[in-house]
Symmetry: C2
Subunit: 129 residues, 2 copies
């Protein structure tokens, strides 16, 4: 697959992938992909990332059910960032239950945060440990 | 500044920053910031990145004039990605002259690209070497 070879992976074999809601244009999250997760994403049209903390493929939504259907994939000029246009099942992308991971706006000259009121689910119920 | 201390910089002291057009919601680019560039961005409301290739602060638009006015800054759940909502002066963010860096859509199962017809300027004229 041409894409897999064109991508400039970083020293750890990873590339950042931004997930953007296809309908609203909201940035839902940014995570990382390795070659294997990118290949699976292209093949299945579901977002598959690489979890740096768990050191393994992260099939987004495998636990929460909040999978991301990938409608299109875009590569940037330097071929070192990916943009996914997605349909977010369950309406929430963030493990905190917020719709997007970027629920904190920086205010007061960098000294405080204003939190978005966009909680969709209760993490304690969705992630049963 | 609280933000500067809360941010989880990577091993190289950097954090990815996504620039999104405030009006259209388009993702214009993703670049990197270090503590110094983030501090200057917050202070001046202009996007200042850190160039990994040139190993110095990159005041976006310093050569092309295409500066980014920063309207808001958002921090993600893990405090390791920034999102900037910007007003892009000159209508183009990419050094190729394209409006956004993500002008290539991946098609044909990852084997080809469809290029957006969104060229705003001629790089040879804007970047006089």
């Amino acid at each position: 697959m041409k894409l897999l070879n064109d991508v400039n992976y970083d020293a750890n074999g990873l590339i950042p992938a931004i997930a953007q809601d296809e309908t609203t244009g909201e940035i839902l999250m940014m995570a990382w992909m390795n070659r294997e997760s990118l290949e699976e994403t292209v093949r299945t049209n579901r977002a598959v990332y690489y979890s740096r903390s768990r050191k393994k493929l992260w099939r987004k939504g495998e636990e929460s059910g909040n999978v991301q259907k990938v409608l299109s994939i875009h590569l940037d000029c330097d071929a070192d960032v990916l943009l996914l246009r997605v349909h977010q099942i369950g309406d929430a992308a963030c493990h905190t239950g917020h719709r997007t991971c970027f629920y904190r706006e920086v205010v007061e000259g960098g000294n405080a945060y204003k939190e978005k009121n966009d909680i969709i689910f209760d993490p304690a119920r969705v992630y049963k440990k």
